[in-house]
Symmetry: C2
DNA sequence: CCTCCAGGTTAACGACCGCTAACCTCCCTG
DNA sequence: CAGGGAGGTTAGCGGTCGTTAACCTGGAGG
């Protein structure tokens, strides 16, 4: 099991800093020396923890996709286990989970739809499969709430709402944005409004 | 004036292919030899048309920002010239313009919010200033339509709707998306719905 | 017909980058 | 108290990349 409350592992430090740097300057724009410097070691010391630069990106992207999908499945199961919650409440739960992720792990959300093509074939296929499962899970919930939506329209709507929710990195002129709770609530309302408009 | 209906200039060919490649693989992920090959010349021949790789990116990003801002100003002037159109109609016009751009110049819309940090300081400041003017123009229109929105909230809402509208590149599993008109209309409805929900 | 330049070509340079090799140094363990 | 592995270090190799240099060529203009 992973150490969650302990002090962060070296590996975890490296992944966190790598995510930040990749998001800021792009995968090819960051050198291994910079990543090392960000955690206090220098250059090739990283190779004691990762097979290479590609492996860091792969672990980040797979981790993100798995985390999103796992969280969504858990929320869906909780709703179903609670004896048939209203479809709107399930959608609210999915939206809330996605917003939490987007606000708490901004660099990861940026990487998630930006550096996918830098992966080796096997990893890219895995990430895409996880992403597709995540999308299809949303599509099913949205169509249950708005049965008039065709499946392609629902899928487009879901992708568009992801674009809306993932826009938080662009609000990052630090100090100028409202508080976290207010931002989360605004994004949530807008996402619901967008779906409602799509389903009409 | 630029040649619009004539055969495209070499410069224009290069810019178009560079935009596509930068959007696909990132600025640092594309070599000058590839850009040259994409227009039938090879490698250093590009330096007869541009001062360097950076100059191509700069011209692309400045062009995008200017084009978006100019179009929005024109639409606003048309509305004001027509003797006070309803605020909702002005917002519709802005949304329509942005959607046209996002659907017709997908690679450019991708570059626009992804490779800004690769610019030299002067160019980056110019692009950011143009982008800010574009955002503020939207914010003013949105606040006229939804006066209860605070300015920070309106700005966040505008950025979020940009995220929604700019999500079109993610729908590009070619052949699977509905027709252009249908996509445009869906995006338009969702954007209006998101704004309406934000303003409540 | 000569000239000249716009727009190419190939060769090559210098910088950088990912990665490996070789070595060092704690610290934990038997 | 050996000793050995985990986790560093620096040096350096091989490849790639952006850019420059030097040269070539076809076609327009006097």
């Amino acid at each position: 099991m992973a150490t969650r409350t302990d002090a962060p592992t070296r590996r975890e430090q490296i992944l966190k800093e790598a995510a930040r740097l990749f998001a800021e300057r792009g995968f090819h724009g960051v050198g291994v020396d910079e990543i090392g410097a960000a955690v206090g070691i220098s250059g090739p010391g990283l190779y004691r923890h990762f097979a290479g630069k590609d492996a860091m990106l792969a672990e980040l992207l797979v981790g993100i996709s798995e985390s999103l999908l796992t969280g969504a499945k858990r929320r869906l199961a909780e709703a179903n286990g609670a004896g048939g919650v209203a479809p709107g409440a399930v959608l609210d739960s999915l939206i809330e989970g996605h917003i939490d992720f987007a606000l708490d792990d901004r660099p990861l959300i940026t990487l998630h739809d930006r550096e996918l093509d830098r992966l080796r074939d096997a990893d890219r296929k895995l990430v895409r499969q996880l992403q597709r499962q995540y999308v299809e899970l949303w599509v099913a919930v949205v169509r249950r709430l708005y049965p008039d939506l065709t499946e392609p329209a629902a899928r487009s709507a879901v992708h568009s709402v992801f674009g809306l929710l993932n826009s938080t990195p662009h609000l990052t002129r630090p100090g100028s944005l409202p508080d976290r709770a207010g931002t989360a609530e605004l994004l949530h309302r807008m996402a619901r409004g967008a779906f409602a408009a799509a389903g009409a």
